[in-house]
């Protein structure tokens, strides 16, 4: 990031404000949705969907991921793959277990 001109930073700042507003809005939305008491499946789906968007906003703009170096992407993709394995495999083992 270092070596970026002041003008660019000014632009950045504007986006930061927008992102902030977006995050606030989405926060309100999730809470609102939770009061609808959707069926568990939907509730999870919606909540995670919104959370993902919010997360991507933070990562993308505050953490500058949209304009990051390849190396960082590589690291994060690798991590993400293992993260998914960690999330899915143990539980799927459970579901696959013979329950007679």
């Amino acid at each position: 990031m270092s070596g970026t001109s002041v003008e660019e930073i000014k632009k950045h700042v504007r986006t930061y404000i927008l992102v902030f507003v977006a995050l606030m809005a989405l926060t309100i939305v999730t809470v609102a949705v939770s009061y609808l008491h959707l069926s568990v499946g939907w509730a999870i789906a919606v909540a995670l969907f919104i959370a993902t968007i919010k997360g991507s906003l933070v990562a993308g703009f505050f953490m500058h991921l949209i304009s990051e170096k390849k190396l960082i992407y590589a690291t994060l993709i690798l991590t993400f793959v293992f993260f998914i394995a960690l999330m899915i495999l143990p539980t799927s083992g459970y579901l696959d277990k013979v329950v007679k």
Binding site: S2, H12, V33, L48, F62, T75, T79, Y94, L95
Partner: protein, 196 residues
């Protein structure tokens, strides 16, 4: 020989050491919290019935905390931006706000915990409470860590600005990355624990 690329960027990677370092650290953090979320899923799938977070927890307080933490993320990135714009006074102000938000977050959390303990609710009560206290507790510790780092860069650490502004800006950026991550974790914690 001096250690290279502490400030300048290594041409082929385009990174300075600390930045790569903190991203790797965050990668491990992803796996740390990942394991806890995975446990949450594992236990919830196995459980005969699972309570709704909003029936047991204080959503308004959590909502407040969400807002506080997100704001702190913005002030954090602003403090870095101020340094990029060579405005040290602004930096001080924003960093100060960030720390303040962090503290508010902890205070609110303290109230939330206190409220639970007051009515005798402890981690031992149920799997849900166990996972709630563990996840939020661990996250809380991360907030504390972040506050300590930020306070250092706000106070004593900021002397470096005079000598090596470039390097100091990098440091603040790195601290910021960590702080944003803490915010990011909360963004997932909040719905998973409180709203589902």
């Amino acid at each position: 020989m001096q250690i290279p690329y502490t400030v300048s960027l290594r041409p082929d990677t385009g990174l300075f050491n600390a930045k790569l370092g903190v991203w790797l650290f965050l990668a491990s953090e992803v796996m740390l919290f990942g394991a806890l979320f995975s446990s949450y899923v594992f236990l919830r799938v196995a459980a005969p019935e699972w309570p709704h977070g909003y029936d047991l927890l204080n959503v308004p307080l959590a909502l407040l905390n969400t807002i506080v933490l997100i704001s702190s993320s913005v002030t954090m990135v602003m403090s870095w931006a101020s340094l990029m714009m060579k405005d040290f006074v602004k930096y001080k102000r924003y960093m100060g706000l960030t720390i303040l938000c962090g503290l508010i977050f902890l205070v609110v959390k303290a109230f939330e915990y206190g409220e639970k303990f007051a009515v005798g609710i402890t981690p031992a009560d149920s799997t849900f409470m166990a996972i709630y206290f563990t996840l939020t507790g661990l996250h809380g510790l991360h907030v504390v860590g972040g506050i300590i780092v930020n306070t250092y860069f706000w106070g004593p650490g900021s002397k470096m600005w005079k000598r090596e502004p470039e390097r100091f800006t990098n440091r603040v950026e790195v601290a910021g990355l960590y702080w944003h991550f803490v915010d990011l974790v909360w963004i997932f914690l909040f719905p998973v624990l409180y709203l589902l």
